[in-house]
């Protein structure tokens, strides 16, 4: 499971001012559950996921993955985590099998298990035709399948998907969705990010809306519909954004009444 506690990340901008990409974010994701991080581009989804995968270090706060702290034990965190995004590149000069074997070895999976898993996944995702082809020669859909197997070769309890369907056609996207459901059925904890409301609706057990690095709302679609009395997903999202804006303006007004 994933526990995010007051996670904050600030970057320095060109003009020297700090930018809070993720601002005091807290949430949890349990095993056997699909949690969707929903937000527009630049909301802080990728930054959050990069911190969870220990590629970036948080400026403040922390998170745990399967009980391991992302700052204290990044090694253990990565070993328990599968990460898949829409644009993670693959080594084009290796064949599918070589690439997956390479990553398997980095995760300390023994050779026998690697072989077995490759076969299982190749059957599941219909990859037997290109197991020994160089990745350079594969289509986008095939590459995405390779990425899927790459991310799950060590059978991690937690899977993180960072907009994995971005730029994919319907059929390939469907492969991913069915893979995510398989992860859930296998009892894994799944964190999935997207900016497409419909996708979130289809797949999510629970939704975490974030905007400008901050938590906007948390719950199921049913909860959101009840709270806002709105039906359309887009409307609901915009509604939450506006609510926060109003709250912030009121807050500023109280702070500096002279400004207005």
């Amino acid at each position: 499971m994933i526990e995010v506690k007051h996670l904050t990340k600030s970057f320095e901008q060109k003009n020297g001012e700090p930018l809070l990409a993720v601002n005091d974010l807290s949430f949890t994701a349990d095993k056997g559950e699909i949690v969707v991080l929903l937000g527009v581009n630049g909301a802080g989804k990728t930054t959050t996921m990069r911190m969870l995968s220990t590629v970036l270090k948080p400026s403040n706060g922390t998170a745990t993955v399967e009980g391991y702290d992302i700052i204290g034990e990044p090694q253990k965190v990565r070993a328990n985590l599968g990460f898949l995004s829409g644009d993670t590149g693959l080594y084009n000069r290796l064949t599918t099998r070589e690439l997956i074997t390479f990553f398997g070895k980095l995760y300390d999976v023994d050779d026998e298990t690697i072989k077995k898993r490759i076969q299982e996944m190749a059957d599941f995702l219909d990859m037997n035709d290109f197991l020994d082809k160089k990745i350079d020669l594969l289509s986008t859909g095939m590459k995405q399948k390779v990425s899927i197997v790459r991310s799950i070769i060590h059978d991690p309890p937690v899977m993180i998907f960072d907009e994995p369907t971005a730029g994919l056609d319907i059929l390939t996207a469907r492969n991913i969705v069915s893979f995510i459901h398989k992860c859930k059925d296998d009892g894994k904890c799944v964190l999935f990010s997207t900016h497409i409301m419909r996708e979130a609706e289809k797949i999510a057990d629970r939704i975490i809306m974030i905007h400008e690095g901050k938590l906007l709302a948390e719950g199921t679609w049913e909860d959101f519909r009840m709270q806002t009395n709105l039906q359309d997903l887009d409307d609901i999202f915009v509604n939450f954004v506006n609510q926060t804006k109003e709250r912030e303006q009121n807050y500023e007004f109280q702070e500096n009444p002279d400004d207005l």
């Binding site: 590149g89 980095l106 160089k134």
Partner: protein, 670 residues
Amino acid sequence: MNFKKILTIYRKELLDLFRDRRTVISSFVLPIVLYPLLMIVFSSLVSRQEAKLENQQQVAYLIDEIHNENSERIIRELKTTKNLQLVAADSISIPEKLLKENTIQAIITLRDSVGKSGYPTVLSKIYYNKADEKSSFADKKIFKQLQKIKDILVQERLQELKIDEELLKTIDIGEENVAPPEKMMGFALGKFLPYLLIILTIGGAGVIASDLVAGEKERGTLETILVSAARRNELVIGKYLTIITISLITVILNLFSMYLSFHYIMSQANIQFSDFRLPLANFALIFFLMIPLVTFFSAIFLSISTYSRNIKEAQSYQMPVLFGGIMLSMVSFLPAFELNFGFALIPVVNFSLLMRDIMLGDFQILYLAEVVVSMIILDIIAIFVSIKLFNNESVLFRTAEDKSLKFWGKNKKNVFSQQFVIMFFVFVLLILFYVGGSWQNINLMKGLVKTEILIILLPTIAVLKISKSDVKRVLRIHYTSPLNFLLVLLMALPVFVLAVLSMQVINLIYPIPESYIEAINKLVQSENIGIWKNILIVAVLPGICEEVMFRGYIINGFGKLGFWKAIIITAFLFGLLHLDPFRMIPVTFLGIWLGYLLLKTNSIFVPIFAHILNNSIAIASGKIIDKIPILNNFVSDGNFPFWTGIPAIVLLVIFLHIFNKINQSNEGVV
């Protein structure tokens, strides 16, 4: 660290690279194919060209001013020269023009003369055009032929007088070279082999390194590998080993190919190769030595590659390293440079000189050990830098920066950015080099005054004024306790003693040429202008101007880096500005001291005071030591005995302790 994982990464990188056409071509195919091809084409071209010249008809104009039996005989003999067409001419003016136009290849003149003993002598002169290969060739041919005719005529004359020819052989001079063939080869190879090897190494490592990290960034695979269970240092080491392996293979292939091509050329030129055996044992030693050099450059290029956003950027950052390496490696061509303790510490230079010595067969084990040890230390530092960079997310995920050159923007922050400060420094440095130097050559003292005020002080003030900065706050024109000045005064002597001692230590490693010391002494003790004027120009003026520029302005550009980094970087630039490799280190130390005083007291007056004191003591010591007999016992040849360092350190520690107590509250950097 897990070696199994390093090995996994290493294997994968090698597999990946061996499948990359670009790498295969530049690292393996090129050396194997290029040298033989180059050599074969070159040698066949040369021999063909020579054959062509040999078979070509050359035209020479002949001006005979004698017209007697003797001259006619010479002409007859000349006519037998192979492929030479002789044309008779009367005057030299037209043929000379033709010769210059390359229409004809030579002019031969025959003039009459009489020797001292009364025998007739023919004065013959060959005019030729050295800028034309054909003409040079004709000249050689004609010269040879004339020599032959001369020998025949001498022989005839001697016969007439019934003198045995043997009489002329008073000394038979013979020469024999005792250098063994290996050494001959070593001498020739020793000059260019280090140079070639260093360039090959640098070039080979550069291509691979740029692909390994910057290339991964470009292809978007870096994040994939970062989220895997491999540790960062395992990745760095795996990649590092890959670069080393491929560059060593490249070097070996290059050498092998060169050796064979060389062999081919030799056999083409009909030189018995067995006479010119290459010293193979020395080659083995050189390979062993190549390892620290290769590892050093691999680490540097890995750091560059990690820092760069893409391959193109990595390659452009590699250029200065490449040029620097080439320049330093050329030292093996210079005859006056011998490997010594100091040079053995300078990377590239040490290899260049050591390899030359090895090829000659006489090197000192001590220096070899020193070179290897110093390189291993540098290697370790370089690889740590790589690992550190690889762990730095802002480097790893460096995105497009603002590349515009809007330095003179309205934003006040701009003039205090690192980028701007460094640009400003380089600007001042260049002006100093091009303009200040020539001012000082015309008149040293006047030049110094002009340099300090116009090149150092004025531009600094101008930048602050144009950017509308708060000059008082930026320059730290603040009041400070008079006690600070007293303490600086008390510390001045121990600091000076330590400075001189450090200079002496540096002197031991890199001896300073006598001529240089004389020039410096002249600067410090110009007798004719009097000590007070001297202090004003050499101490007070630089004290103020240089402190305003460095401790006043430049240090602010590095304030964000923290207390010590700001001081040290500023001091390093301060050392650079003196444009003097021998004073670089002591001046940098002085800069650190002055920066420390500034940031501790938060008042520019303290470093100005200390700077003036330092320069004044330097002037005074030159004048006073000779005049006070007691001091003369301590100081011989301007050198302090090393034990003086101990009381100096003790005094300095005591005073510094008090100084730090007084200035506890100030450690602020803007």
